[in-house]
Symmetry: C2
Subunit: 145 residues, 2 copies
């Protein structure tokens, strides 16, 4: 599914938050990224456009999006930092513990799993993550040398 910037910005607005140039840019960067970026990655990407941007603003905006439920916070990619994912549909993340990239891979079973947990857990569910980790083909080759 294609994630739109508008989905994120309208979510913030309907949660009673004002739209600012910084927040709009953070939503856009996140929605258009394939890289499951960290706060620092978004900050670095936007810094050229917003000379005075603060990391705190990036964290605050991401935290708000997570709280609303339109963004998932993904830990455990091998680096010590949180990656953000604007795709909240059930899907599988595949992380390389060497280069720390995270990609999505399609799965025909993950939706059934999601239905099962949703109906049986007894929790008020706020999000999920399915993460597999290992060495990507490129890093496997590098390691052989």
């Amino acid at each position: 599914m294609q994630i739109t910037t508008e989905r994120l910005t309208t979510s913030l607005k309907s949660a009673g938050m004002r739209m600012t140039p910084q927040r709009a840019a953070i939503c856009k960067a996140l929605a258009e990224s394939e890289a499951h970026p960290t706060a620092a990655m978004i900050y670095d990407e936007l810094r050229p456009q917003f000379d005075s941007l603060s990391l705190a603003t990036v964290y605050n905006t991401l935290e708000a999006l997570v709280k609303i439920g339109v963004v998932n916070a993904l830990g455990g990619a091998g680096d010590g930092s949180i990656h953000y994912d604007a795709d909240t549909e059930p899907h599988v993340n595949l992380a390389c513990i060497s280069c720390n990239k995270i990609i999505d891979i399609p799965s025909s079973h993950v939706q059934q799993l999601d239905d099962e947990i949703t109906s049986t857990s007894g929790y008020k569910l706020l999000g999920a993550r399915v993460l597999y980790y290992g060495l990507c083909p490129e890093c496997q080759k590098k390691q052989e040398n």
Copy 2:
């Protein structure tokens, strides 16, 4: 599946590492815990027995177990810390973002998912985690007040 202390200690030995009282105690604490403990939790549990135990030793031992592949490192439980799980069979973790407890729940689909990813990813897989997060029944009640 029941996790045995021996599985962890023999793994360390066959990886060429020496067995020490500290390492044995860390393996035992992890194997016998239901709580998906953090390094700090293991440290606190063992401190009474090992007066001079260092957190660095706990981290080193856990890191070795993760590298060998007999323990999984689970991030993203809502606190900022890594939880460790000696059960490496595919299963679902359910985390409460309020009290930060992690429990296992049974699932009839997670094994199929695991087979699918293992055969299609192209990665050299080292571990996996399936995490759902939300509010446990107790914390839901507390939040209503």
